[in-house]
Assembly symmetry: C2
Homo-oligomer: 123 residues x 2
């Protein structure tokens, strides 16, 4: 399914993917997730790697597991509700940080983005 970047541990990349699906509502609160083995097939990785990603997400309170039934997105955790805002904040924060490192004023960045999007449209 997905091809992962080699510079970042796969289990972290799987965590990111699942977080996004929860954040945008593709995996609604309380819904059942695919099993460890199904996800391993989907992502073309070892089940242990998926298990590692899901354990971490569980530790963060985003998912829970009924040992023999399956695994579910957390029902009403504040973490889930605020997840999209958190992720968006992280993305913008890292972006601004990188922009500053290129000695570009953050206030100048919107025109640059617009230029990028225009160029992207033409292709």
């Amino acid at each position: 399914m997905d091809i992962f970047e080699s510079t970042k541990p796969i289990y972290l990349q799987i965590m990111d993917l699942i977080k996004k699906e929860i954040a945008i509502g593709k995996l609604p609160p309380g819904s059942q997730m695919a099993s460890v083995r199904e996800l391993a097939m989907k992502y073309q990785v070892n089940p242990n790697t998926v298990q590692r990603a899901l354990s971490e997400l569980e530790r963060e309170g985003l998912v829970r597991s009924d040992r023999t039934i399956g695994r579910f997105v957390s029902e009403q955790s504040d973490t889930v509700v605020l997840l999209k805002d958190q992720l968006l904040d992280e993305v913008i924060g890292e972006f601004i940080k990188k922009i500053k490192e290129l000695s570009i004023e953050p206030d100048d960045v919107c025109p640059l983005i617009k230029k990028y999007l225009l160029r992207e449209e033409k292709e």
Copy 2:
């Protein structure tokens, strides 16, 4: 000096740091760089790790080395001239990609950035 993220190989992070310094003119074309051992001290890593980063940068044509004199930023390579634009393009491209993954319209992103910057000012 710097603390590196544990999720990405240090030699790649060092490459990024040096690229930025070249891009913003802190390391001008033709200028001599700090030695492998000095950089290892500065970054608090093993000289081998610095050597690895510099070898890669050399492979990309950004730096060159006179074996017993030292290492220098490439003089007039087109790569150096275009570096800042390339890095900026990468940063914006990755940002837009992540924004889309959060199911946010790229056209809606500038107001979000402005909101972020206003919030940042107050702290």
